[in-house]
Amino acid sequence: MKPYVKFGLLTAVIIGTLAWLAVGGISDTKSYYKEVAELKKMGDDVYTKRLRVAGDVAEGSVERSGREVRFLLKQNDLTLPVVYDSMDPLPDTFKGGAQAVAHGKMGRDGVFHANKVDAKCASKYEAKPGQKYQTPGQTAPPASDTKASF
């Protein structure tokens, strides 16, 4: 057989194996990313799929009893109760007001059971565009005045 043919066959075997591993890996670990508002639209699927729900941790909603942590994840006006029960502590960045993503499954009791919570690293690149740094107690200056003129 010409060397290129042999090489091509070996390549096909390698790529085939990797593709098989990849597909298996995807279906085993895939999780759906939803915001709080989108959960309502999911219907019954919401109880079967592995989910990651994103929202903001409602200020003052964090309750700890033993290892269990309950909090509310909110987006605009909607709230989602979340319960987190795991030996692993919550990340350092988790607190009221933080942006968070809860990984887990939706329970039939209307509470989201999270096995992992990510909270946004209080950030390097913070403010949303147009928003400026604020000291506590100061309201954001009107957008049109925030650029210095020179």
Partner: protein, 673 residues
């Protein structure tokens, strides 16, 4: 003062635009003076950017809180070093750093080649300045580091700033971004030379020879940047891991992978005149992946724990990248005639073949990581659902890839060019294979059953033995001739061919890291609530909580546990894991873990908080993880060896392409030596 800074950047932008036009028009209209003035413009904009950077640093160090950027990233209580490193602590400042490093590299390239490559240089300059102008555009508007806090017509300063996130106030995090940028940005230089070579239809490999050192140094910085980040994650984040397959981590790894593939496949071009098109593609892909990585990190297009908020710069990057990819693709396709191979694959059992497999498998890894990282974006475009994949996906695909790479690392250097016979292979690989099998037997006998771990250790032994044999064989030859001591002969051997033996050292470094990675298969973990005086055990250690204390200072409040470590009844160590709550900004919690680092394993303790008067402690045993950092050191050493000029200059017998007949794309070949 901030006006001066912003003005310098605008001027620098103008100079970079001039440099592009000066180079292109000067080359086109045969006006050397224009080309020269363009090169001077490169130096001028470097000076301006240095000035602007200096102003920003001055503002940071003096806590000038009138500037929005300073107020967001510095507070008065911060140590001075971190006030300086706040330069790259946020979006605008780090973009300025990126831009300034690019200016430094461009100025260096222009100055180094002021008397050389007169035909290629205008295009090299233009390519460099095109990217430079883009970044200067970003930091002039919309992401200026010199914006002031203003209300109405009044510039107001805040009494104190937010401070740098305390997670970043750590030595390896201080140097991780600049090191990574030195890598990211540096890959533009080989790309620029490749473009210059293509545009001017250079027949030879001048662009590769010139950029070999650049590529090596850049690759070294990129490697260091990635490993510093991993080291930081391990020591600071408290979960004991060094790699999470997070999108931002992956973004830094992708160009590293293609650059590694490139470093290997250029050897094929230099020695056999093969893979010319492929090398063009690889060097371009590396550059594009750098820009893509920068885009991925800053645009928020894929959510990541490295929280980069939604930013307006996404479309800018997308446009820049698309234009570049389109232009490069057109250029390569148009110049295909000048990139014809001089030799072909003759046998699957050959060094050419092993290089090809090396490239194939590295690119497969790169593609799988890119795919997994971008999966949420792709799935959303196709199905409307944002589906993401996690670490298990990446590990599942990349562990077999890593093992295959290990195999190639051992086989490649010893297999002959063109074709190898089975006999020669048997001779070369007898001892390494025996060594691998023996080790497997020993480990199996010791009770280790983890398949991937066994394979990994066996392959590590295989590679180490092949490298040792190479060194001994060569050193013996020298020692017999010169009567030197064997070790002295090894140094001499390396010096005579630093590329080859430096490369072997780098391979050993990679093997050391693989040993460290494999140890993770045997990690132990335990999370426990303990009170004062309580005892618990993990692995071969018994741990006793001697005391739990709390306190407070001007920067943060803290709580920690003093844990005594015993082994076999004897006290061997005391570890004090701590948790801190920083007062600045919105209050940031951080864990300061304590680690007992030894060659065979690390004992890692994390203080995770208090619960009903008891401390929650996470204890881990990480076998062999220290080998990763040792491998890191070896990698730096090996690459530096590669950079030392060889004592003996080697010339390889190969056909030298003398020129290309006009209108016809067949090179005239002359056999040279």
């Amino acid at each position: 003062m901030e006006n001066l800074g912003a003005l310098s950047l605008i001027l620098a932008f103008c100079f970079s635009i001039y440099a592009i036009f000066g180079s292109v028009v000067g080359k086109w209209k045969q006006r050397p003076f224009l080309v020269k003035s363009a090169e001077r413009a490169v130096l001028a904009q470097w000076a301006l950017q240095t000035f602007a950077s200096g102003l920003l640093v001055y503002a940071l160090m003096t806590c000038d809180f009138r500037l929005s950027y300073v107020a967001s990233h510095v507070n008065t209580a911060m140590p001075t070093l971190y006030k300086f490193t706040a330069w790259w602590g946020g979006q605008e400042g780090s973009l300025l750093l990126w831009s300034w490093i690019l200016a430094c590299y461009s100025a260096l390239v222009v100055w180094q080649n002021r008397k050389k490559f007169r035909d290629m240089m205008p295009w090299v300059t233009a390519t460099l300045m095109l990217t430079q102008a883009f970044f200067l555009l970003l930091i002039t508007y919309p992401l200026s580091p010199f914006e002031v806090l203003a209300v109405g017509k009044e510039i107001r300063a805040v009494p104190d700033g937010n401070g740098l996130n305390p997670l970043l106030q750590y030595w390896s995090m201080a140097i991780h971004p600049p090191t990574l940028y030195l890598g990211y940005v540096g890959f533009i230089v080989p790309f620029a030379f490749a473009m210059g070579s293509l545009i001017t239809k250079q027949p030879g490999d001048a662009w590769i020879h010139t950029t070999r050192r650049w590529t090596l140094v850049t690759w070294l910085f990129q490697s260091m940047g990635i490993l510093l980040g991993a080291g930081w994650a391990y020591a600071v984040l408290g979960w004991g891991g060094y790699w999470g397959w997070d999108p931002v981590e992956n973004a830094s790894l992708l160009p590293w992978i293609t650059a590694t593939a490139f470093l290997h496949s250029v050897m094929m071009q230099e020695k056999k005149g093969m893979m010319k098109v492929w090398n063009m593609v690889l060097v371009s892909a590396t550059f594009f992946l750098c820009i893509f990585g920068t885009f991925l990190t800053r645009s928020g297009v894929v959510s990541s724990v490295h929280a980069f908020a939604q930013s307006p710069i996404g479309p800018y990057f997308a446009t820049f990248l698309s234009i570049h990819i389109a232009a490069t693709t057109w250029l390569i396709l148009d110049r295909l005639g000048y990139l014809k191979s001089e030799a072909h694959l003759e046998s699957v059992l050959s060094r050419e073949s092993s290089f090809l497999f090396n490239n194939l498998i590295l690119l497969a890894s790169c593609f799988s990581i890119l795919w997994g990282t971008m999966f949420p974006v792709i799935s959303e475009a196709v199905t409307g659902e944002k589906i993401s994949v996690d670490a298990p996906f990446f590990n599942r695909v990349n562990i077999p890839i890593g093992l295959f790479l290990l195999l190639l690392t051992g086989v490649g250097p010893l297999i002959a060019w063109r074709r190898s016979s089975f006999e020669s292979l048997k001779k070369a690989f007898l001892w390494p294979t025996v060594g691998g099998i023996v080790l497997t037997g020993v480990l199996f006998g010791l009770g280790i059953r983890h398949l991937y771990a066994l394979m990994s250790f066996a392959l590590c032994a295989f590679v180490l033995i092949t490298v040792a044999m190479e060194f001994v064989k060569g050193a013996r030859a020298i020692a017999t001739k010169t009567g030197q001591h064997l070790l002295r002969a090894m140094v001499e051997l390396t010096h005579r061919n630093t590329r080859r033996y430096g490369g072997y050292i780098v391979h050993v470094a990679i093997v050391m890291m693989f040993i460290g990675f494999t140890g993770a298969a045997f990690n132990k973990e335990r999370t426990i609530e303990v009170g004062m005086g309580d005892k618990f055990s993990i692995g071969r250690y018994e741990l006793k909580v001697a005391s739990i204390e709390q306190g407070e200072n001007s920067n943060y409040s803290w709580g920690h546990a003093v844990v005594e470590v015993y082994q076999g009844g004897k006290r061997i160590d005391t570890l004090t894991p701590e948790q801190r709550l920083y007062s600045a900004g919105q209050g940031q919690q951080s864990s300061v873990v304590d680690i007992r680092r030894r060659l065979h394993e690390d004992l890692y303790l994390n203080f995770a908080g208090m619960q009903d008067g008891k401390a929650i402690i996470q204890a881990y045993v990480f076998p062999l993880v220290g080998w990763i950092w040792l491998g890191f050191a070896a990698l730096i050493f090996g690459t530096l060896v590669c950079l030392v000029p060889s004592k003996v200059r080697y010339e390889f017998a190969k056909t030298k392409v003398m020129g290309v007949a006009s209108g016809v794309a067949t090179p005239k070949a002359v056999t040279g030596d």
